[in-house]
Symmetry: C2
Subunit: 228 residues, 2 copies
DNA sequence: CAGTGGTCTAGACCACTCC
DNA sequence: GAGTGGTCTAGACCACTGT
């Protein structure tokens, strides 16, 4: 059982919505009324309903009251792990190898994303689990924003991991797509030419400044899992 | 500016962490101290720190205090939209077509997921935007759990949308992967044989009962976007 | 204008867990 | 045992916004 009253209220409200007692789009009783009903303080009801609003279940408006969303938002939370942890979670021994590392003028696409620096640090890295390729990444790092990165070789700690520890709590965009394996990517992953690969593109920002942009290609058959 | 004090405190704490004033793994002052520092009630500080804990930025323990996570969780929120809305957001005119609809004994894999019913409703649907294929789905619906589904043809409203409205707020699992287009899937999407397709698998549950399991294959070049 | 949620307070008791 | 967060309360004032 949930000991906390606010948590129990949240679940009771959810139950009523699911049961059809409070249909999609309908207005539910106001906080004061519910507080009397549940025999608690208004603040406790407020906390429960605020949680449901954050989850996208209800919409709250002053004077307008609290309504069940007509199309409740289905949102999934994806944890974006460090690749080393992904490999280790699967029971493999992690290793990574930097295939390419150079400071160079970025190509047009990367240049635009990075904010048009003259030069940036380019890395190609393959991540392995028990020797077998797990993922291949191409990364551009904005050395104007993170000068320290220019002195790192990323041999002991991957750039992936170093950046997470050095530039914590940054925001960014994330894109998933499927691509056919070709050329160096196929080779690095030991994948058949043309195989369907799961790819992730991430651009990381700290206070609006782009730190790094990376494309990660996972081995054939990789699945990214989540729950609703 | 953020008017709310709890929100301002949350941002100030974030700023201190990012600036290095409170390094990863370090302990930050307790609620009472912070309340004095910010000149507010303890409850207000509590709300700010609780929010940061939910976001995965800090870890809180009674007596242990509040610490900055050593490896802050990077989590993305993915909104899982109804396909019709995806198409319409992209500016296309939505249409869908049910290619197959039958009640049949599910194959072994689907059967296990659905909880071993004798029969289930099978649907193959193609979703189009401005006439061009956008996504192709294969779905099994547990008619034991949702008997009403057996009477629906899903011609006006897609099964996708009908289920969202009929069985709101259900939970479930979600898997993303990349697959090569073959056979009927390639044909339905007018994709080249072997093209890399982004695929989504979803199993929906309500109170532990599996309602439906679906595989959705998106057209070539589809990207799923999110942000950190 | 008046109803509703948003926020804050000052205080209280409790549960956990580190020392 | 004692420090810290978790939760709850009763009340207050305010900011929106529907009527």
């Amino acid at each position: 059982m949930n000991q906390a009253i606010h948590s129990a209220i949240r679940e009771d409200v959810l139950r009523r919505i699911r049961s059809g007692e409070w249909p999609l789009g309908s207005r539910i009783p106001d906080e004061k009324t519910l507080a009397v009903h549940y025999g608690c303080a208004r603040g406790t009801v407020n906390r429960a309903l605020r949680a449901l609003a954050e989850e996208g279940v209800v919409v709250r408006r002053r004077k307008g009251g609290t309504r069940v969303r007509t199309a409740p938002v289905r949102q999934a939370r994806l944890a974006i792990p460090i690749i080393r942890e992904q490999v280790e979670t699967l029971g493999g021994e992690y290793a990574h190898e930097v295939l390419t590392r150079r400071i160079a003028p970025p190509p047009k696409a990367a240049r635009a994303i990075l904010g048009s620096p003259e030069k940036a640090l380019y890395l190609e890295t393959v991540h392995r689990g028990d020797g077998a390729p797990f993922a291949f990444e191409r990364r551009w790092i904005n050395v104007d924003a993170i000068p320290e990165a220019a002195n790192r070789r990323f041999e002991r700690m991957s750039s992936n991991e170093w950046l997470v520890k050095t530039v914590p709590l940054s925001g960014g965009d994330l894109t998933f797509r499927a691509v056919n394996a070709v050329g160096r990517v196929a080779k690095a992953l030991a994948a058949a030419e043309g195989a369907a690969l799961f790819a992730l593109e991430r651009t990381t920002r700290l206070e609006e400044v782009v730190i790094t942009t990376v494309q990660i290609y996972y081995r054939e058959g990789y699945r990214m899992q989540s729950h609703l």
